[in-house]
Symmetry: C2
């Protein structure tokens, strides 16, 4: 298929590269930043364009992979396009594209970092479209890079995105806090990596509710108090207390 | 070596089984709950005993693997023992065993769940002892099950334990919250597993500070506000806001 992109950030880069790798043809790349668009275009044998008006609408699909807040205003400039146009955002409803004849959502539920390659075959792709034909087109593209395909409506996708914040953003922040706590006593962060990996791997087969262990699960107030006194800032103390209370509540109310 | 255990919970069971598997001889198991002690003893070809007074001190090492709060009082009953006695706790200092002639700590930095087997060769073992000879004895035992050996003093171990609470207990609780958020809209938890695994795997090579992505990292207040309104309880809303603020602060202060 012939695919064009609006955007040249992490999602656009990873997704365009993967689609190119599995044999699709990438036609054009538009981005506010032409240098970035051009760099990505070179990687995927596409053409960077300077203006949205130069978009070729004889493609199969245009993928908008830009920041959430910019999607709606870009959509206004695309209303005359006849090809399928999708965005890649978890939190933006399909309705922001409703002025376009053919529209949908192609949301890869994964975290993308620059210079860190991802295995697309493991990434859940959440699809939505304005009609069955467009959904089927999206499915065909999705299947070419991952077997994990979910048809979710905008409400469900928004919910997924919220869950992903807990599962990724918040847990990664806790890895950062853990690393800082270790650094205070000159302990290498490597010591925690096996535990972090095990914590994630365990829930492949165990319900996370069952996998919960530790002080708060046992409501061991004495050691929790000691931990709080070890923490170096009031904010971290409050954070510790807040998350611990949430665990204590969770297992007591059930 | 000949090793005995006090305790028959998750840590005692996993550790005794592993030491038995690699060829050590497990002599005796004592536990408050004789039925549990007997069940474990049968697994590792040891003898369950009904009283601490029946402990055979001609062994190389006695491992106390019981709840933190019970260690000190058990230690009082062991003061006459001449063999090396260690506990397995992250948060309890070595001093609680100081009345014993030979004492130390053997802390496996990992989470142990019943019916979930662990790969000991990946587990960091944190060692401490009252003298070089005992430390060397502990190292020999540790080496027989894992190459990841760390010599940490009680302060450092306490710090590790605190870091582990963030890296395991708190992150696992967030997996649980994410699962509940998905269940509200009938979305299978499987959809999040690749993201969870990727989040953990990424920090094998990337500093977690660098790996942070998402709304709070970008300080995207509008979507964070929407997320909070999606959450079903005041407590979850506060938790969301608290952790997000911590991320926003972290990247703004640096």
């Amino acid at each position: 298929m012939r695919i064009s992109f609006i955007g040249s950030g992490n999602v656009a880069t990873h997704l365009a590269s993967e689609l190119f790798k599995v044999g699709h043809s990438i036609a054009q790349i538009f981005s506010k930043n032409f240098t970035n668009a051009d760099a990505l275009a070179k990687q995927v044998n596409a053409k960077a364009i300077q203006s949205i008006n130069a978009l070729d609408e004889t493609i199969d699909i245009l993928i908008i992979a830009i920041s959430d807040r910019a999607i709606e205003s870009i959509a206004f400039e695309l209303t005359s396009l006849s090809c399928l146009v999708v965005h890649t955002s978890g939190s933006i409803p399909i309705q922001v594209l409703s002025k376009l004849a053919n529209h949908g959502v192609f949301y890869p539920l994964q975290t993308f970092s620059k210079d860190y390659s991802v295995n697309f075959s493991l990434i859940p792709l959440c699809l939505e479209a304005n009609n069955a034909e467009n959904l089927s087109l999206l499915e065909n593209i999705a299947k070419s890079i991952s077997p994990n395909i979910y048809k979710l409506d905008s409400e469900q996708r928004k919910q997924c995105h919220l869950a992903a914040v807990f599962a990724n953003n918040f847990t990664n922040h806790f890895y950062t806090i853990a690393a800082e706590i270790l650094a205070e006593k000159q302990i290498p962060f490597d010591i925690l990596k096996p535990l972090i990996l095990e914590t994630a791997q365990k829930i492949e087969t165990l319900d996370p509710k069952e996998a919960q262990t530790g002080l708060a699960r046992r409501n061991d107030l004495a050691v929790m108090q000691k931990h709080m006194s070890q923490l170096k800032s009031d904010k971290l103390e409050k954070l510790y207390s807040f998350v611990s209370d949430s665990i204590v509540d969770f297992y007591n109310k059930k």
